[in-house]
């Protein structure tokens, strides 16, 4: 370790010549590894730290906001089974979970293909985490992500297994349990979503669950009362109003204001030529009327590309009554990427910084709440998830 340099009068009294570096983090999970981008206070300079786990599929990389230093990475490879890697020093070193999420061994039992989603639990439950897997499973760790157990009996509940369907009912990359949300007012109040299988809620810490699908539409010809047909892509709780949920679904953009139980399709206010299909959704940290989506082409065989090759964010500042196209700085044509459900995030800055990672390996940032965009990294592998963290 370098010896500390003795302080001089000038060093004690001189104001910092530049903003504190590396306080803003972007946690980028990709098809071929993970990167941590460290940004200065102005958020205009980013330094790449990575790759971590080069070659491994990283579906999610999350920082524990309760301690500001523990990172969990959900990993697998094309050949090897899934695991969880854990760092308690912001990625300087990693250890592997000795017991990652896995279904119990039983006749006809399922196999976790990958852990898809990681959520730190309530602020009053230090070291507790939740994980969602493919195929759909809900897991919990009570030791900071070291060991994991199935949570709440949900994974073997006959009704939920029916709603989850089989792997054949899922997308080519496997059906997923995602959008695990903890009510910041009550650690017993949780939500999660399944693609496919709807949105669900518990008020008693997982002892009982119930679907929240009223108002959500399904693909034409199917019965919206059937839970398994519902395909929520991303559900977000408004940080400033825990009674407000937003959702980007396979069939539209929705809002739900609790205690109501019926979703409203706010995506109908989107321009007709754009539509309201997409994967990610982000909510402003301090304004529950403001949210952003990134529409994609969901026609015919589901190209999952920017519509017409012209990517754009759409933002609302009135809860979805009106949407505004935000594309300044983004490619004007021939950009055929899109953004996956975990790959769009907001920081807590003022103005809010928005960040997304593309399927073509570009990392884009806006320091103006989406009004203008700049590319801060190119040539990464396909980006699966982007999360923000402030360790200032």
């Amino acid at each position: 370790m370098a010896k500390a340099r003795p302080k001089t009068k000038s060093s004690r009294t001189k104001k910092p010549s530049r903003p504190k570096a590396d306080g803003n983090l972007l946690l980028v999970a990709t098809r071929k590894g993970a990167w941590i981008y460290r940004g200065n206070a102005a958020r205009n300079t980013w330094r790449a730290d990575g790759p971590h786990f080069l070659g491994q599929i990283i579906n999610h990389l999350m920082l524990d906001p309760r301690d500001g230093k523990t990172l969990l990475a959900a990993a697998s490879t094309g050949h090897l089974g899934p695991t969880i890697f854990r760092s308690t020093n912001l990625g300087k070193s990693w250890e592997e979970s000795p017991r990652p999420p896995a279904f119990k061994k039983q006749e006809g039992g399922r196999t976790v293909k990958h852990t898809f989603w990681l959520t730190p639990a309530h602020a009053n439950e230090p070291n507790v985490w939740y994980a969602g897997t493919s195929p759909q499973g809900l897991f919990r760790s009570e030791d900071g992500g070291v060991t994991w157990n199935e949570f709440s009996g949900l994974n073997d509940d006959p009704q939920y297994r029916e709603w989850m369907g089989t792997e054949q009912d899922g997308t080519p990359d496997g059906p997923k349990l995602h959008s695990i949300i903890v009510d910041p007012r009550d650690p017993q109040h949780l939500y999660f979503a399944m693609s496919g299988g709807g949105v669900h809620e518990t008020l008693d810490g997982g002892q009982h669950w119930k679907p929240l699908i009223d108002g959500m539409e399904v693909v034409g010809g199917f019965d919206p009362k059937t839970v398994t047909f519902h395909d929520p892509h991303c559900v977000r709780l408004s940080p400033s109003n825990p009674d407000r949920l937003y959702q980007q679904n396979h069939c539209g953009i929705y809002r739900l204001d609790r205690p109501a139980t019926r979703w409203t399709r706010i995506g109908k206010a989107m321009p007709a030529k754009i539509g309201d299909v997409g994967f990610p959704m982000v909510v402003h940290p301090r304004n529950d009327e403001t949210a952003w989506v990134l529409p994609m082409d969901g026609q015919t065989v589901w190209p999952r590309t920017a519509i017409n090759g012209e990517p754009a964010i759409y933002g609302t500042s009135n809860g979805g009554k009106k949407w505004t196209r935000l594309d300044q700085g983004l490619p004007k044509s021939q950009a055929w990427w899109t953004v996956k459900r975990q790959a769009f995030a907001a920081d807590r800055g003022a103005p809010v910084g928005l960040y997304f990672g593309t399927t073509s390996g570009e990392l884009w940032a806006s320091r103006s709440e989406g009004k203008s965009w700049s590319c801060i990294a190119r040539h990464l592998p396909e980006i699966y998830a982007v999360e923000t963290a402030d360790i200032g």
Binding site: H79, L80, P100, K105, G109, V112
Partner: protein, 93 residues
């Protein structure tokens, strides 16, 4: 005590072993994999799933013969080779 057996390790698993060839003990493939996991924690679950099946794209050979049954016996002088399917090369390379 069962004899030590030579195990050739597929490249994606060498981050656990630090070597392409290691020794492990066990009179069955299951016992040998348990011993391997005790020596290199986490390695077993990445090739054997929670239902005790060899993962879809992993293959295990004993003396050149493919083995799918974890109860398959392992004896003195046997060579166990763990490879990744299709795109995997020789564990020696």
């Amino acid at each position: 005590m069962s004899a030590s057996v030579k195990v050739l390790i597929a490249s994606p698993l060498r981050s656990y072993t630090g070597a392409d060839e290691v020794e492990a003990r066990g009179d069955s493939l299951a016992a040998l994999l348990a011993d391997l996991d005790a020596r290199y924690p986490g390695i077993r679950f990445r090739m054997i799933d929670e239902q005790e099946a060899i993962r879809r794209h992993m293959r295990i050979f004993i003396n050149g013969d493919p083995v799918k049954d974890l109860s398959h016996p392992v004896g003195v002088g046997d060579e166990v080779c763990i490879v990744q399917a299709l795109s995997g090369g020789s564990a020696r390379n």
